[in-house]
């Protein structure tokens, strides 16, 4: 998948000004725990092996080879609405949008995240990227996850994602590879 993405989507669009520890959008890891943080502003996500304040924890108990792809402010330029990163292994593909919710407005941010994730999947389809061999999930990552009270519209969004992209739309801070 990594090679295929490289061919179809290329490399970092900000190479000339990048100050990233990992200059490539494609970061290969096999650690049991991987932490991803959205620093905000015009920076791509930060990937670390230890970060207790991270927005998203990737649990990889079997030490599988995992590829994290920095999308926003890295692989994709500003013209494209997109999620923050992809995380994938041999059989799982996650598209992740991180939303900082300490300032409130969770509802607006969720709807924005759904828009970005939808645009990302539409872009992947247009780019001829076949996700059918993978278990596909779209993750909205709030710094704190809430399940209740129930929201009819969130269920509708899940149904639409499943129908359009065969992807499960979820909210959470932890994904397991």
């Amino acid at each position: 998948m990594e090679e295929f993405l490289r061919i179809r989507l290329g490399d970092c669009k900000y190479n000339h000004q990048s100050k990233c520890a990992h200059p490539s959008p494609y970061v290969i890891l096999d650690s049991p725990n991987i932490f991803i943080t959205d620093p905000g502003g015009e920076f791509p996500v930060k990937i670390a092996l230890e970060d207790h304040d991270a927005h998203l924890a990737v649990s990889n108990p079997n030490g599988t080879t995992v590829c994290v792809v920095k999308t926003d402010n890295c692989l994709f330029n500003d013209d494209t609405k997109k999620c923050d990163c992809f995380v994938f292994s041999n059989d799982k593909f996650y598209s992740v949008e991180i939303k900082e919710n300490s300032s409130g407005n969770r509802n607006k941010k969720r709807n924005k995240a759904v828009e970005q994730l939808t645009a990302t999947f539409e872009f992947l389809i247009r780019s001829g990227i076949d996700l059918s061999p993978y278990e596909v999930k779209a993750i909205i990552c709030f710094s704190r996850n809430d399940q209740y009270p129930i929201r009819a519209s969130s269920n509708s969004q899940r149904a639409i994602f499943q129908s359009r992209f065969n992807a499960s739309l979820e909210e959470g801070n932890v994904i397991t590879i």
Binding site: R106, R144, S153, A159
Partner: protein
């Protein structure tokens, strides 16, 4: 069945334009006007509760400011009427327009019946027009169609009305058809709509003291009394209430309402839990209609009243499983809900999605095998006992005097809305509290 209700400057409503179908939902904050709209819908569905004949030989109706004001007063919304109030209601049965203090009632079906009556005197020469008029009516009203066919083709006929049926017209048969048309029209225009108020549990309490209350001139709103009378008329011997509590059963024993528990004990309805007292006045008239022919429209104010979240879900499933789709204007029932509950809204959304899964499989172009289709339908029915066709569903959020549809017509599902936003506001506040605690800890 479709109708439309346009309201301007009525109480908190500035302007709303509602396309209404077989299941309608109004959500909105307190005092947004959703109940006022639901009450207006009830009034407009059955206008001959307040309009009177001026000439019994013709379809002309007397409508005074007083009679309209009177019915608004009955529903406790009369003070919402303003100088510049405008109301437009339109259905297959009739149109009603209220503007500049004047109400214009156009009984569309009755006007057609009047024309049939006029043409009847020379029916041999008017066969084409008569056939067209009767065909137009029978296409929209299935019970009228069945009656007309029986009149023309004989009591045991199973043929529906066609242009060929017109060959059997006679003066006597046309008289019989006109009589059926008038009876159905009068019934639909007078008794179709029932408003199930949020004060419904109150009728259980006053039931045995009604004479005393009338004697002492206790001012109980008329729409509550009218609803109480309707429940009293609708006798149901037994209702399974196990969706509220294990083996709970309602029985009407010699006119007395009793609740039987799983241990075989029984108590008076007035002694039962508030949830039971709120649910029964909803179920009794609706289940009573289930066993009857004809059409009814039920407006159910806050079905969630006094109910645990799961019981709210079960109630919606029960109500929707009893509803026959009103695909004709004299058949089935319409449910209009007003609610504040995220569980009611999500329950309805689940039923919409259940229908979508079943329908998608039905529409599968490659031709899905029958046994596979049945398996899918069975699997869906194992999860939810009923479903709602999104085509027949509308949902509106009412706020700041306006109404906005919250249905996505492409997916047939409920989209972002005030109730869901409220859930997120609670989460936002919890986040803010967590932040404060974190800042204090680091201070």
């Amino acid at each position: 069945m479709r109708s439309s209700l346009v309201v301007k400057n009525f109480g908190p409503i500035d302007f709303v334009d509602l396309d209404l179908r077989n299941v309608n939902v109004f959500i909105g904050p307190q005092a947004s006007g959703k109940s006022a709209l639901a009450k207006l819908l009830t009034i407009m569905k059955a206008p001959r509760r307040f309009l009177r004949f001026t000439d019994s030989s013709k379809s002309s109706y007397e409508h005074t400011q007083n009679s309209f004001f009177g019915i608004l007063e009955e529903y406790n919304v009369s003070s919402f009427l303003k100088r510049n109030t405008e109301i437009n209601f339109s259905s297959e049965l009739h149109d009603i327009k209220y503007k500049d203090g004047e109400l214009i009632y156009t009984p569309k079906l009755l006007n057609a019946i009047d024309e049939i009556e006029l043409l009847k005197s020379n029916f041999e020469h008017n066969t084409d027009r008569l056939t067209m008029l009767i065909k137009q009516i029978t296409n929209k009203f299935i019970f009228i169609n069945l009656h007309v066919s029986r009149i023309l083709h004989g009591e045991h006929s199973k043929i529906l009305f066609t242009s060929d049926s017109a060959k059997l017209f006679s003066s006597e048969k046309l008289d019989a058809i006109i009589s059926v048309l008038k009876e159905t029209e009068a019934n639909l225009s007078s008794n179709t709509a029932l408003y199930i108020p949020s004060e419904r549990a109150f009728i259980n309490i006053i039931k045995n003291a009604s004479l005393n209350l009338i004697h002492n001139n206790v001012p109980i709103p008329k729409h509550i009394l009218a609803f109480g009378a309707e429940v009293e008329k609708s006798v149901i011997r037994e209702i399974d209430l196990s969706f509220l509590h294990k083996k709970l059963i309602y029985r009407n024993i010699n006119g007395e309402d009793r609740i039987f528990t799983e241990h075989g004990d029984n108590i008076k309805l007035t002694e039962a839990a508030s949830g039971i007292q709120s649910v029964l006045p909803v179920l009794i008239p609706i289940l009573h209609h289930q066993g009857a022919a004809g059409h009814r429209s039920f407006v159910i104010e806050e079905p969630e009243l006094n109910l645990f979240p799961l019981a709210q879900y079960e109630l919606i499933k029960k109500l929707e499983s009893t509803r026959r789709e009103a695909v004709w204007d004299d058949y089935g029932s319409i449910h209009t809900y007003t609610t504040h509950s995220p569980y009611i809204l999500s329950a309805l959304n689940n039923l919409l999605y259940a229908n979508k899964i079943i329908s998608t499989e039905r529409e599968f172009k490659g031709g899905i095998q029958n046994d596979k289709r049945k398996k899918i339908e069975n699997a869906v029915s194992q999860v939810v006992s009923s479903n709602i066709n999104p085509y027949y569903f509308t949902a509106y959020q009412i706020r700041d005097g306006r109404a906005e549809s919250i249905i996505d017509r492409n997916s047939g599902l409920i989209m972002n809305n005030y109730i869901d936003e409220a859930s997120d506001t609670l989460a936002d506040d919890f986040d803010a509290l967590l932040n404060i605690e974190k800042q204090w800890r680091n201070f």
